[in-house]
Amino acid sequence: MNRIPAALRRRSVFLTTCAASLLGSLALAGPAVAGLFGPESGGSPNADRIADLYWIIFAIALVVFVVVEGALIYSLFKFKARKGAVAAQIRGNTRLEIGWTVGAAVILVALAVVTFIKLPGIRTPDNSGANGLELADGTLLAASPTKERPPNGKSLNICVNGQKYVWRFTYADDCTRNDFKAPFAYTTMVVPTDTTVTLDITAQDVIHSWWIPAMGGKMDAVPGHYTHTWMKVPGEKANTTFSGQCAELCGRNHADMVAFVRAVEPAEFEQWLDEREIDVKEANEAAAEQRKEFEGSDDSIEQSSDESTP
């Protein structure tokens, strides 16, 4: 009689130690926890809020997991067939069954409530910070109904265009207009810190998906449609480069369709943007000159204005 409780006690001590050491190592591991048990975050408040929501669900899920798996394993070994044991011929228990149906439903209602509380902070962009880029009043475009703007309507808008197998970023307010004069970049997006950046995402060939894990959720780039997300890199993350890659199968080199976001101080950003603007202008002028030369030399060849991809 005495041995069983002792064994049980030893087992419970062992289990407690395991659980404590697990939780302890989780707490100490810090950033390592993200990636192993939770999503990446830190690049933008929406990523942080998604991670918060994730951890709430994780906690509830962990309890459900332990209780149900525990009950399963317990009933398996506790009621193992033994000599003389007779199975109880129970066919059901309506009260109990209603009880756990309601119990499951209550957990899900709680999850739904938490999600609805967290949702606005994730979907709706924050206002830009005081140290952010000086933004003009939001050109409140009649964009798609799914586009969310920050409360004050001011954001730096970037058009993201997925193409096999590269990302193009155009710094323009209206992405539906092909503004050839707008500065653009491939693969690496440069953004100012502490500034709300809204993204209008589309693709021009097949479906791609825009995803920088530390900067929030992914949004598909679907040809013929626009999706939207936003980011606001905290000031202390200046000169950090965040990486991600296309998350929707887009062909053989899908794995190589990477994307980077480089966060810089607003002043540096403005300088960079000006340089890009000048580069684009010069390139456009050079192209126009070449075209003139070309057209002058041979009229029979038909010309198409293909010097710029949208």
């Binding site: 011929q89 756990w100 967290k118 998906s209 992914k218 626009y226």
Partner: protein, 574 residues
Amino acid sequence: MAATVDPPTATPTQQPVPQVVTRSVRPEPKGFTSWVTTTDHKRIGIMYMVTTFAFFLMGGAEALLMRLQLGSPDNTLITPGTYNALFTMHGTTMVFLFVVPMMAGFGNYFVPLMIGARDMAFPKLNALSYWLLLAGGIVFYGSLFFGAPEAGWTSYTPLSSVAYSPNGGIDAWIFLVHLTGLSSLIGAVNFYATIANMRAPGMGWGRLPLFVWTILVYSILLILALPVIAAAVTLLLTDRHFGTHFYDPTQGGSPMLWQHLFWFFGHPEVYIMVLPGFGIVSEVLPVFARKPIFGYKAIAASTVVIAFLGLLVWAHHMFTTPSPAVVLVFFMLGSFLIAVPTGVKIFNWIATLWRGTVEFTTALLFCVGFIGTFLMGGITGIFLAVFPVNWQLHDTYFVVAHFHYVLMGGAVFGIFAGIYYWFPKITGRMLSEPLGKASFVLMLIGFHVTFLIQHSMGLSGMPRRIYRYPDVGDLALYNLISTIGSFILALGILLTVINVLRSVKRGTVAGPDPWKGNTLEWFTQSPPPVNNFDILPRVRSVEPMKDIRRQVARQSGGDGDEPVAPTEESLVRG
């Protein structure tokens, strides 16, 4: 002994027996021809199971090749095109050529036996559905010699359009969907007609075995979902070859149309795959816990509710697409709702074990493995249903892990439980239990080593369907663990293959009812004769065999362990 199952209530009718006059009698076909020409549901069932298991092994080999490629970062073992073909073949094979038809195989063999029928309602159509399935598989794998499809099992447009997938692989895929879809559709109508019309006397809907319930709901789901995918792939075919633009955004079409149509089929398909697995668990657990199923009505009803809700949640596969917020909210809440009937099932299964006398047979172990693993897949499903969290997890290895927990841990463990439980009935011989247990342990460990760590890969930012990844963070370690696990899993499956091949000829002779089962298939010999039953008892509960054993015990004064030998006058004619 006088085993009275039922007092003779039906007196033979006095009408003259119709005479059958035959002019010539063809000899019974033998050997190979007997299999090709058969319309016997049991032989068709065996052909289904053997064929689909062969496809399972091929799909498994494809998975191992992918895991080998991903075993180390920036690996160059497999070219990107081949890798894309591999995951397309793997997914398509497992869904269309393994899980769904495997369930049809079990259904074919056991539905008539469990409801006390002579055969399926339409035996020739039954043969047709098998041969269409085989044709679908051959057409699809034939594409290996020309150009395999590379757009994934979802074949999203525009990637699957002729501009971006010019070779015939996608066309082979479309052909496969049509052929296997037709096969499943014919099979589903057949199941429905059989279950609705050919049940044994006394077997009302409340006494239908739970496996048969799930096959009934599986059939209804197939009938509702398959026409949609048939239409979708037909539009894709005309887009590719006949100048239409249903999915072409440059001509006023939309790739979103494909996604909606695909997932309107694709999500019910998940339940089509997993519900019969639920049915197998609901049959096996009470037999080895020696206890009636807990809450028969709740389990049957939750099957129906899951199927109904399963038709209303398809867009939770599309949370990152351009969709209005109200759509996202609707599909999130709908997906939450499904967790309730699913939870009810899991609780009922645990309550079935509770206070029972659990016998640790291999079949029971696979059922328990199923419950434990499926539960984890269900929990990660809740993460994915919360759409803001889904934005992080969608299309990553987290999703890959999730659906393998649901389909591999769920449907496949259910299938293996079915194999170990019913093999004695099909062949008349027992599978080796020690080998079976070894197989279970290896499969369970291998499975979790392979797929648990994949959640972490996804959380670390690794998208699915990439043929290589850079050596950043712990990705290399995670992937190595997963690759090692996949080979443990494969070894476990191999042990069952060896077990089956060995036991078919050399296993212990099983007798009609080795497990002391509950349902009517154990009433007949193993393997059952062509006509299944000479006589049938009147069904008085969900566990007719238990009733019969009890009656035998009462009348012979034994403990109910004697084999049942019913006398003719005591039984209603089948």
